[in-house]
């Protein structure tokens, strides 16, 4: 019997050690695994590298983890938010380092990391400051940058439903970075609104096959960042 279910978010993140790299799903609030992030805040690991498209909003979820000074580096495409000064302050202070990556290059580097593709040539960012220091090469008259696959120790992602094998389906645009991140992490942890028995998901509709997932935890009514912020919440 295969059963990747763990009982609580706290258990799911218990072994994260200082210095770990963590891919965190989500584009804005869609797909942000807030309960896993809050469990990680409680857990205490620090000096983390976070790979995520954004840097969070308000003072909950990813922004809260940053505010607790637990993240020494972010790999990110858009570390700005209309309603958060957490990352900008840490960045200007020099506490949190930023590796800025174009959004599509970030997604493709993560997929490559998960797919055993060590590096690839992309036309994105040629001739821009984000090409500085990168190897480039001309093929058939067009210039491309060499970009490297990205892997991580953990991925924290959010699903709509998962089964005990770790198969996942998502909710609408909450899917975003989760499938490639699940491929690229040594330990992928999913919070899902429902955890089902094997066979309850249609095998034709599974988006992330269970082979990419190590732990599944049920979080029945996950918080939404915008609602927490509207309610004036902060964590912890």
């Amino acid at each position: 019997m295969i059963n990747k279910r763990v009982s609580t978010a706290a258990q799911a993140v218990a072994d994260v050690s200082d210095g770990s790299s963590i891919m965190i799903g989500g584009f804005g609030e869609a797909g942000s695994p807030i309960e896993l992030i809050h469990a990680l805040i409680d857990q205490g690991a620090k000096d983390l590298t976070v790979i995520s498209n954004n840097t969070g909003s308000g003072e909950v979820g990813l922004a809260a983890l940053l505010k607790e000074r637990r993240v020494s580096k972010v790999v990110c495409s858009f570390p700005k938010s209309a309603n958060s000064t957490v990352f900008p302050e840490l960045y200007r202070e020099g506490f949190t380092e930023l590796e800025l990556v174009p959004q599509g290059t970030l997604a493709e580097r993560i997929r490559a990391g998960g797919a055993g593709v060590h590096a690839f040539y992309t036309p994105t960012a040629v001739g821009t400051p984000l090409a500085d220091g990168k190897e480039s090469r001309v093929f058939e008259g067009r210039e491309y940058l060499l970009e490297y696959g990205l892997k991580a120790d953990y991925a924290f992602i959010k699903g709509a439903a998962a089964d005990e094998h770790g198969n996942i389906v998502y909710n609408k645009t909450a899917r975003n970075f989760a499938p490639p991140m699940a491929m690229a992490a040594k330990v992928t942890i999913v919070q899902a609104e429902r955890v089902l028995a094997p066979g309850e998901l249609d095998p034709e509709s599974v988006v992330t096959p269970g082979i990419f997932v190590e732990r599944v935890v049920e979080v029945v009514e996950p918080a939404h960042e915008s609602e927490l912020i509207a309610a004036g919440a902060s964590y912890p």
Binding site: G28, S77, T124, T128, K172, N176, H224
Partner: protein
């Protein structure tokens, strides 16, 4: 009343409407945040466009009423949207495969500066201390078949946005096909900027005076038959 107080050219909505006329039926289109989003309101009757939002949806529909919708059904500007019949959701690697692989017909973007060779600067003013943030702009301009820029012709202080070469950090090199401003529609050609259309009350001399590089006159349109 001085000339500079006279209202000439197009409003933002008129700019968006002018651009919308140029998008063929059935096109797959990605609209950037801001003025580009207005374009969807002005698509001529009888044409259907399919909107792509890079966070993972084809067949995006308009925003729902305030308070409606799903916080996890959003566009690239992180606003709630809807999905139309025929929509499909996909993950980010697939979404940017569409972009990078040249599957989208058109990307409409805002700009800080456009150079006469088509270079685009639209993500950073390069100020020290600013938080750099690029999102998907570099992917869009590198991959999408046609890149249209929609922007005011000059900055608020009157400085040209269409220039000989960009002073701001580039988003992409030689990527812009056409620029829609409040004053004119301007193609980026191998000879530099060329006027395609002028706004109401606008002449080429006015456009030239507010442009940082030469603007060639419109080619005469070959008449049919």
């Amino acid at each position: 009343m001085t000339e500079s107080n006279e209202r000439i050219g197009w409003t933002r909505d008129q700019m968006a409407s002018r651009l919308a006329q140029d998008i063929p039926n059935g096109s797959y289109v990605n609209l950037g945040i801001g003025i580009p989003e207005l374009v969807a309101r002005y698509v001529p009757k009888g044409r259907t466009l399919v909107y792509h939002t890079e966070n993972g949806l084809l067949g995006m529909g308009p925003s729902p009423a305030d308070g409606e919708g799903d916080p996890e059904l959003i566009n690239a500007g992180k606003r709630r949207v809807t999905a139309l019949p025929g929509a499909a959701y996909f993950h980010h690697a697939d979404s940017f495969a569409m972009i990078r692989g040249g599957h989208l017909d058109l990307s409409v973007l805002g700009a800080l500066q456009i150079a006469q060779n088509g270079d685009l600067a639209n993500w950073s003013t390069g100020e020290p201390g600013a938080i750099p943030a690029v999102g998907g702009a570099m992917d869009l301009v590198a991959g999408v078949k046609n890149v249209f820029v929609i922007t005011q012709h000059t900055t608020k202080s009157g400085a040209p946005k269409l220039v000989e070469s960009c002073a701001f950090p580039l988003t992409g090199r030689s990527v812009v096909n056409r620029v829609y401003t409040d004053l004119a529609v301007i193609d980026v050609t191998s000879d530099g900027f060329r006027s395609v259309d002028l706004g109401p009350g606008v002449d080429l001399a006015t456009v030239q005076s507010r442009t940082g590089a030469p603007v060639l006159p419109a080619l005469e349109t070959a008449s049919a038959g």
